[in-house]
Amino acid sequence: MSGPTPSLPPYVPGGGREDWMAPAREPFPAAPPPLPQRRSRRATAILAVVGILVLGALGWRVSAEARDAWWNGEAHVPVPVDANGVAELDGLQVELTGVERLDDGVSTYGDRWEPPDGLVLWQVGLAVQNTNTEILSLDVLVQDTEGRRFETGSEVPYGVDGVQDSLEVAPPEPGDDPLPDVQYLLVLMPQDAEPAAVRLESTWSLAPDYFRLPVTQ
């Protein structure tokens, strides 16, 4: 139930409309005191941190498969090399005996082979001992000072005396000859490539570990 309508003041022509229609004015309430600036900044910082954590967690979850594939499939954990230049992992021991530039080319099946102009042939010497029957082959690459990697045995001639097409790693069977004391491999690189390290990798039997043997002058 509503009470009686309050009577309006009589309308006066020419008089102020607001005075006639407007309800009684009340003073505005006092503005609340401003929040302390410190608390506002803290809230902003917390919000930013939470946002970053949420994004990071989402990214971590989404990239799980890619991380797993990269971590297990890419050679990125170098095996430590001791003071004598020998690196050993799970019964496989390797040592870089030398990296030599072959400016005069090589003989292959009685013919002389020289690399195309602007390319240089190198010879890599490696001493390998292995008792691990699960590591049967390794890719051998030479990494230059610019980080480029060149695979031994690629674009080089076959049938060169004293040089192998690929590195022998598999442990010899009883009665077989032992692995050679030093195995030599060929690698072709551009003229501006300076060898910095020799890498021995295997996606299947070694990754994520790999051997990284620095080239010492």
Partner: protein, 193 residues
């Protein structure tokens, strides 16, 4: 004029309109443009291009009725053989070149023939020249596009991977009878393509 404040409902409506408009725009772009569009590299004939991790230089394309297989057997086709001559190297380490795809004017896509030929391995800055062989229908000739997917992921990839795009023209009236001999890939002296 007096600089009155903009009503809140106007601000809200404008913000909503901007958000909806941006969403529609992104949707339209996603539908119209290939997902890898921004990473495409436009190549030119005879000019080195870098489509990481591949460097390549395409010298031209030609068409033949017959090609010789590696065993010197003439390979017939109901269409035509398109041979693309090019050289390539990598930028970082030894790897294959990924996928090459020939696209005709109607958008039909052709991979390298699997009948006898293949690509070859490449190494950093060691250029090797060879020939890619595509088998296409006769009406595919004319203006063609060669795509180089160095990642090997190809167009279905959701990741914006780099790929190379090159316009090629093969005149349907200039088909040679052949048989074309596909040379072994050749390691090139420094500076040659």
């Amino acid at each position: 004029m007096t600089g009155g404040r903009v009503p809140r409902w106007v601000v809200t409506v404008v913000m909503l309109a901007v958000l909806v408009g941006a969403g529609l725009g992104v949707n339209a772009l996603a539908v119209q443009a290939p997902p890898n569009g921004p990473a495409g590299v436009r190549m030119s004939l005879g000019v080195d291009a870098v489509v990481h991790p591949l460097q390549l230089n395409v010298s031209g394309a030609r068409a033949y009725e017959t090609v010789l297989s590696e065993d010197d057997v003439p390979l017939e086709t109901v269409g035509v053989w398109v041979l693309v001559d090019l050289s390539y190297a990598t930028t970082d380490r030894p790897r294959g070149p990924g996928d090459f795809i020939l696209v005709d004017e109607r958008g039909r896509r052709y991979a390298i023939t699997s009948r006898d030929f293949d690509t070859w391995q490449a190494s950093p800055d060691l250029w090797v020249r060879g020939t890619l062989v595509f088998e296409v229908p006769l009406d595919a000739l004319g203006d063609l596009t060669l795509e180089s997917w160095a990642s090997g992921e190809g167009p279905p990839s959701d990741t914006p991977l780099p790929y190379g795009v090159l316009d090629l023209s093969v005149d349907p009236g200039a088909i040679e009878p052949g048989p074309a001999v596909i040379s072994e890939p050749e390691l090139l002296p420094a500076g040659q393509r």
